[in-house]
Structure formats: C-alpha cells, structure tokens
C-alpha cells in the first residue's frame, strides 16, 4: 500500500510534491513576515490598550517628514560607500600581494581568515577598548604620529566617530574580500598573461586590461554580498557609539531597532525596515544590470 502510494507520487507530473517543503519554509519564514511587516506599517502599537490600531498612511507620511530618518540614511550611505571602497581596494591589493607564492604566505592566508570567526559585536568591543582615550592603543599611536592630540576621544567626537566605527568594520571584513579575490585570482588562466607579456604589456597594463576585466564577475559578487551587509550595519554602531555623538553614527538599522524595541513604535519600525529593504533591492537590481557582461 505504502509502496504503491510512493510510486504514484513518483510518476505523477505534478511538481507540487517536490516543491512543497521549500514552499512551506519560504511561506513561514519569508513571505508571511514580509506581508505582516507591510500590514504592520499601516498600524501602530497602542501601549494603553496593548493592541494595534489602524493608522493608514500616517507612518509613511511621518517617514517622509522625519529628519532623523533622512540623516540616518545619509550616515548609512556614507558608511556603505567608504567601507565598500576601502574594502575593495585594500582587499584587492592584499589579494594580489598574497597571490605571490612566497614562504610564510600560506600561514598569513590562514591568519587572515581569523577575523571572520569573531562575532562583530565582540570585534566592536575590542575596538571600543582600543580607542579608549586614556589607555587605548589607537589614540596613543595617532598621538605619537602627530595626527591627533593626546587623549582625543575618537568615538565621542562627532567628526571622528564614524571613522572610529569604520576602522572595526574594515579590519573585520577586508579579509573577506581578500579571500574572495584570492580565489578569483587563483582561477584566472595563465595563458593570456603569457600572450600579453609577448605582446609587450607592462605589469600595470596586464592588471588593468586583463586581471581587472577577468575579475569583474568576482568583484561584482563581492560587492553584492558585502554591499547588502553593509547597508544593514547595526552591531558596530550599537556596541561602540549607540549612534552618537548626536546622530553622527546613527544608521537606519539602529534607528529602526530603537523605534521598535525602545519606543515600542512597532508600525513605524516596520516602515523603516521596509524602506531599507526596498532601497537594497533597487540598488542590488541596478547593480546586477550594470555588472552584466557579454564575454
């Protein structure tokens, strides 16, 4: 009986028996929360009655007029662009360097991946300590180099706080870029380089005309993976500055978290999250369209 049933499913043309498990997971963990989030953005939590009240478009109107949101979006974009640019350039440079087979580089490559196993919140704590104005190593070094005055509280200075957070971000995630780029470099064919050396190309010309174009797909993947992550930045600012001083490190994710869990404005928090999602989706799609290549 059971055997006959299995047989009937196996020979049926319907794809549903096979799609069902995945569809169920998607519905429970992705589609339902998304729809609920959209529904929530048209409601607001009322602490007195401990219930939700329909508020129409008021959350969306509030968002449009919310200067704190626009400022957080600005900070997020700045963080996103600076971190991504530095991580790509630094990551590519280190990858090109490590690609040379020199003694000790194997160990170096292994050490490099260690930053990735540290939880970001812990890395944030580490850099918080390292930037302590009294005993932190970073202010000390910057003082010795004559860049900053003695005992400058980096994370408590509006003009420096975002840079202070970015140091942790870049330290932790550049190795991720290095690993992806190094894998890409390893997969490049050697013959075009031989042909190019006969054709008379210099090392820089080979990098610009061969390596960079041949790596473009790999770079695109790295940008996409890292870019989406960067736009949701939360851990470092939460641990290191809580968004301060003022709003100088206040990101969209942090703002959404605060509205939802500190101020219990669930509807507005949902509106902020959805906005982030839409921005990421639009940017990712635009990027994929631009990054598409024919060769």
């Amino acid at each position: 009986m059971a055997v006959a049933q299995v047989k009937r499913i196996a020979i049926s043309d319907s794809p549903w028996p096979w799609l069902l498990p995945l569809t169920a997971l998607l519905v429970v963990f992705t589609i339902y929360p998304l729809i609920y989030n959209i529904w929530l953005s048209f409601h607001e939590f009322v602490p007195k009655s401990r219930g939700l009240k329909f508020v129409g478009f008021s959350n969306w109107i509030q968002l449009w007029n919310d200067t704190r949101f626009w400022s957080a979006l600005g900070v997020t974009f700045l963080y996103f662009i600076v971190a991504l640019t530095i991580e790509i350039i630094l990551g590519m440079s280190i990858a090109l360097l490590l690609d040379a087979e020199l003694p000790g580089f194997g160990a170096l490559r292994a050490i490099l991946s260690m930053t990735l196993v540290i939880p970001p919140a812990i890395a944030g704590m580490m850099f918080l300590l390292m930037q302590d104005p009294q005993f932190g190593v970073l202010p000390y070094l910057l003082d010795q180099l004559g860049i900053l005055g003695k005992g400058t509280p980096i994370l408590a200075t509006s003009s420096l706080a975002l840079a202070g957070v970015l140091v942790a971000e870049i330290w932790q995630w550049t190795p991720f870029m290095v690993l992806i780029f190094m894998a890409g470099l390893r997969a490049l064919p050697v013959e075009p380089y031989e042909a190019a050396s006969i054709d008379g190309a210099s090392a820089f010309q080979m990098f610009r005309r061969l390596t960079l174009p041949m790596m473009s797909k790999v770079i695109a993947v790295a940008v996409l993976l890292r870019g989406i992550d960067l736009f949701r930045v939360f851990d470092y600012v939460f641990v290191m500055t809580s968004g301060g001083p003022g709003t100088s490190t206040y990101t969209v994710s942090l703002y959404a978290w605060q509205q939802t869990f500190s101020f219990l404005k669930w509807g507005y928090g949902a509106t902020l999250s959805l906005t982030s999602l839409v921005i990421i989706m639009v940017m990712a799609n635009l990027f994929i369209r631009i990054a598409k290549v024919r060769w």
Binding site: P192, A195, I198, D199, G200, A201, L210, S216, W295
Partner: protein
C-alpha cells in the same frame, strides 16, 4: 626577419634535466618544424625561444644577438598558443590590436593594421565579437592575426592546430603555409603530427627525450631517416621493422631475417655478421611471387585509392600498401619484394642508420 640560433641549449627543472646540448640554426625566412612525441622537449624549446621559460644552459641567439636574459617583449617574436590564449574580456578587434595599443601606436594606424589582418584571415565580420562567441577555427585565426600585426621577426607556433577537427586542420595547414609564403617571416612550428611537419616545413627537426634526432628537409627525413626512431615516427602508415643479420651471398650483401633474405644495395656500409634491424615502408613493398619475403595474409583494408594488406610472418605483423584490386582470403601465403634502394638498415644496438 631574422635567424635563430641554438648553441648547446640545456634545460633543467630543479635537479631534473629534460634537455641537453641542443644546437642548430634556423635561417632567415625558413619555416622550421620541431617534431616529436609529447614530452620530447619541443614545446619547452619553443617557450625558451619566446622567453616564457628560462634557458638553463647555452646561448640562444636571435638575429645574432644573445637573448637569454631578454624580456619576451624585446625579442621581436609573436606566438600562437595551442589553446590560442585569447584575451577573453576583449573583442576580436582589441585582441588583435592589443600589442599595438600597449606600444602606443596611433589609433589610425592600429585600425589599418587590424583591418588588414582581419581581411587576410577572413575575420572582418567578427571584429565586434568576443572570443567565446567564435568557433575553434575562428579563434585560431584571431590568434594568428594577433601575431601578424606585430611585424615580429620570428613567428612561434605551439601546436596551433591540435584543437581543431581533421578537416579544418588540413585547411588551416595550407592557410598557414600560404601565409608564410606571402609574409616570409622566419617561423618555428611545434607539432607532434608528422603530416603537418611533412606538408609545411622547409626543415624538420625531429626531437626525442630532449635531444635532436635528425635535422633535414621533409624528403631527407622520409627517405633517409637517421635512426630507427625517426623512421618509425615519420610516414603515415607505420614502417615495418625486421631484425636480422648481415650476410654476403654470391657477392651480394643481404640481411637474413626470419621472414626472408632481403638483398641490400652494393654500396651498403653494413658489415657481414652485424646485427641489424631493417625498415621497410609499406608503400615500398610489392607483392611479388618471386620475392624473398614470405607471410600469411590476415586482412585487406580498402582505403579507396589503394589498400593496406596486413600479414602475419615469423617477425610479427607486416603491412604492405597494395593495389585495391588485390583479393586475398585470410591465410593465403603471400611473397613480397623490396627495391634495394628502399631498404633502411639500422644498427640493432645503437639504432642509428648504417
């Protein structure tokens, strides 16, 4: 245009020596084929000429200048690789133009040269395509175009036809040779295909295990192979080898083999009593009822214009090219003869031609 000269060239990878004491000279305008099985060092020699491998020993001269330590770009060479080594992210136009672009040649001049090369190679319609959008033969032509626009003194080809199908290979063979007749650029061409060597070369260099076995024109190499190895390698239906001993019978030198007594030319240097191996090309063997060689027929393979007769004798399998009208049932006794001038005699121990 240039000469290329190898003076006692050697190559080792670490403690492992793969080539020793290779010396020969390639004249201006010459089309030289380096021929040998894989692992014989022919590609390594070509890559040393290109500057892609270092020369471990000896001197490499291009146009009389020692180039051992010269960068590939300064050697005035162009190379076509076995897998073409096209630049995958560049269109055909840029693939051909690349060497001129990096040399900062004016754009108008680049255009002129690329269009000339494309026209010569029938690539004009494909200049806007990427390498992956081309067929194998088209890619091969792009690789040739890349070499042509460089106005190099020496062209290097590394088994350029081995990735093409048989028909296209035959076609490109004549194309490359025609191109050489037109451009007259000194060419070094590496292949393991003896047909390519025979049809294209002015001079063939037969290599074996990092050493030169014979240098000569295609006719030389075919008619007077310097060793058993060369005789075996050259010729499209494999040569027959029969071991035997030199005798003199009735004042005529001959070789006694288990298959029969084969008379030699009177001028032969072979001495009576010497152990030798004789080589008989299938095309030189005639069915002859009075002939000295005897075997039993096994199979006749008809090839259209003629046929191959396979026989089994005391010395093993024996092949003769015969008229296609020949009808022989398996097991028939057949006798053969060979003109004395077509008998190749090799020393049994050294395998060198006698």
């Amino acid at each position: 245009m240039a000469t290329v000269e190898y003076q006692r060239i050697g190559k080792s990878f670490g403690a492992f020596t793969i080539m020793r004491d290779v010396s020969f000279k390639i004249e201006d305008h010459e089309f030289v084929v380096l021929l040998g099985p894989s692992g014989c060092g022919k590609t390594t020699l070509l890559r040393m000429t290109a500057g892609l491998e270092t020369v471990s020993e000896g001197d490499l001269l291009i146009d009389g200048k020692r180039v051992n330590d010269m960068h590939p770009r300064d050697r005035s060479i162009a190379m076509v690789f076995q897998n073409y080594a096209l630049y995958p992210t560049m269109k055909v136009y840029d693939n051909i133009a690349f060497s001129l672009e990096v040399a900062k040649v004016p754009a108008a001049e680049i255009r002129k040269k690329v269009e000339w090369a494309a026209a010569t190679l029938n690539l004009t319609d494909y200049l806007g395509r990427y390498p992956k959008e081309l067929s194998g033969g088209q890619r091969q032509r792009v690789a040739m175009g890349r070499a042509m626009v460089r106005e190099a003194a020496v062209f290097l080809f590394d088994e350029p036809l081995s990735n093409l199908d048989a028909k296209l290979r035959a076609h490109m063979r004549t194309e490359i040779r025609q191109l050489h007749n037109r451009l007259r650029t000194t060419t070094i061409y590496v292949t393991h295909d003896q047909i390519e060597a025979m049809t294209m070369a002015d001079k063939i260099v037969v290599m074996r295990a990092g050493k030169i076995e014979q240098i000569g024109s295609p006719d030389d190499v075919y008619d007077r192979p310097a060793s058993k190895y060369v005789a075996d390698f050259i010729g499209s239906s494999a040569i027959n080898f029969l071991p035997g001993t030199v005798v003199v019978a009735d004042g005529i030198p001959a070789v006694d083999t288990a298959t029969g007594r084969v008379p030699l030319d009177k001028s032969t240097a072979a001495k009576p009593g010497q152990s030798v191996v004789i080589g008989l090309r299938p095309t030189d063997i005639q069915v002859d009822s009075a002939g000295p060689l005897a075997a039993k027929s096994v199979l006749v393979e008809r090839l259209g214009h003629d046929a191959q007769l396979f026989c089994d004798g005391p010395d093993g399998r024996f092949v003769a090219v015969v008229d296609k009208a020949v009808r022989l049932s398996p097991g028939t006794d057949v006798r053969f003869s060979v003109p004395t001038s077509k008998v190749h005699v090799f020393d049994a121990a050294t395998e060198a031609r006698i």
